[in-house]
Symmetry: C2
Subunit: 323 residues, 2 copies
């Protein structure tokens, strides 16, 4: 098992990344990819480094970066996968760039029409996988069907849950609701071998009654990011409340440990990251603000995907679908 | 000033509605619309009632209801507007049905291509109007431009803020980001007289740096509903934490009043409701779970729209746009 980790990706790279890898039980399987001059003196002995002289910034245009920065940490990490020198790639940098390099550099899995970005949301009970959260800006019904298949398989492999429940995000729950895309995808999913439970509305995603929620990338991306900000606004609000009076400060002090743990669970950067499903490689993309713990979880997720041979399962499943 | 209020709409109708109207400073301007047999003995003397024998349930198909239930409270409320017997209609029932009756029964304002549903989100600073949150399932760039114009005017009229800042919800903030629809709408909005600030991503909606966020109905609906559920999940989580230990209970007791006030502000059903912009009438649609306070706010919003003559302003603005 070999996992490349982008040492240069993330708001506090490379320090947080190095700290994460150092403390990981999988550290011996990790290859750090990054600018050696920036890593020198920071990386503990024994950790493997592959040099990448260029860096892709958070604001850079993904496909342009793909064309021009082959020697970036993302470029080299992708190349290592292509040459089978590593089995997976983990990073907390420019999401679009990881997706561009994986999709254009590694290519799609056989019969997969569109890769999709999937991430777990913390629900009332357990976790719900939502996809696509931003790999695609416009899709066809058949793409949504494939997202359902890939998401279902991913949940099965990662959580061990058999035959996960799959829902389609829609405005209104009846099958006649939603736009043309959703209505057509509904039909395809109902007729497929997916354990399809029908439409779900935005306010039921977090109920924890389904395992996989399928949606368009623009919608998934909007709710993911909007949800993050709602959590932040509330956390900030609660923090302000605690500072309003002596009485409130005392109350806050008594509740602090449990509130902290709760908001950590609600914070979307604690789950390791999003997985790009459908390319000829395994790419886990963590939040730019990821903690070392989040990066370690991402490395674990990557390892699990390799062990479970997720990509050949996806190819087989999609092949079945097309028969 | 006359405002029709749907006595039968909402989870706890008619009681909550009657309580709301009774306590409203605008009660003398209100006409309650509903089934007299169900209102008998509950409505205080002096409140005007218009009988509507039929009821449209929360799960009913909107356009079907429009065809078959003209004598419903929604049908009669719309008819009262059409005959100019009332100036506005407020309700907490089936959102789709209010929209169908308003759009099909009252028709669109001159030059308005598509009505849009708009609602205020509680931001870090002040409030941000988001539209469309569910009136349309597929739109053209020109529709989004008109949403921007209507939303901008609404904010101007309701809050008094001049030349409100308008943003376009997109994946990625550069103008080259987003799908074809967003990119084309970006161009139209930039070239218009709107105070357009560019693209905004989902996690910046609540920052409070813009006044109006324009998006497709399916996306707006998803983030509105998802956001509501995030607030609920956190509120429930905090409630659970407070019950875990004696220490936490004490802390919770000290913080209870301020937490309660805070979550009330964050709760989307406290703002009166969403407004349907672009039809030949004024329709305010409140959340099914609305409190009496929310309904009273909705009645106030309706009154404000009438006073400010919002519809003729919209027609004039859209006409300017088309020149």
């Amino acid at each position: 098992l070999k996992i490349a980790v982008d040492a240069m990706g993330g708001d506090r790279a490379p320090d947080v990344i190095i700290e994460a890898v150092e403390g990981s039980e999988l550290r011996d399987s990790v290859v750090l990819v990054g600018d050696e001059s920036k890593l020198q003196g920071k990386v503990p002995a024994g950790l493997e480094i592959v040099h990448a002289p260029e860096i892709i910034g958070m604001g850079e245009h993904p496909t342009e970066a793909f064309r021009k920065k082959k020697k970036s940490s993302i470029g080299i990490g992708t190349e290592l996968q292509k040459q089978s020198k590593v089995d997976a790639f983990v990073g907390a940098g420019n999401t679009g760039a990881y997706m561009a390099f994986a999709t254009l550099g590694l290519g799609r899995l056989k019969s997969v029409e569109r890769p999709a970005l999937a991430t777990f949301f913390p629900a009332k009970k357990g976790y719900t996988l939502v996809l696509d959260v931003g790999a695609n800006t416009s899709v066809k019904p058949s793409h949504l069907l494939q997202f359902g298949a890939m998401g279902s398989l991913y949940v099965e492999k990662i959580t061990g849950k058999e035959n996960p429940l799959v829902a389609l995000l829609s405005m209104g729950e009846e099958e006649t609701k939603g736009d043309t895309l959703t209505r057509k995808a509904f039909e395809l999913m109902r007729e497929s071998s997916l354990n399809f439970v029908g439409n779900i509305e935005g306010h039921h995603i977090l109920d924890g009654n389904v395992d996989v929620v399928v949606c368009e990338g623009t919608i998934g991306n909007a709710i993911l990011k909007f949800g993050e900000s709602v959590v932040e606004v509330i956390q900030e609000g609660v923090r302000n409340i605690v500072n309003t009076s002596l009485k409130a400060k005392l109350g806050g002090a008594l509740l602090k440990p449990s509130l902290k743990a709760f908001f950590a669970r609600m914070s979307y950067d604690e789950y390791g990251g999003a997985v790009l499903l459908g390319t000829n490689g395994i790419t886990i993309i963590s939040h730019g603000r990821s903690s070392p713990k989040a990066i370690r979880n991402a490395i674990r997720m990557a390892a699990k995907c390799v062990e479970e041979n997720i990509n050949s399962s996806i190819e087989n499943r999609i092949k079945e679908f097309n028969q």
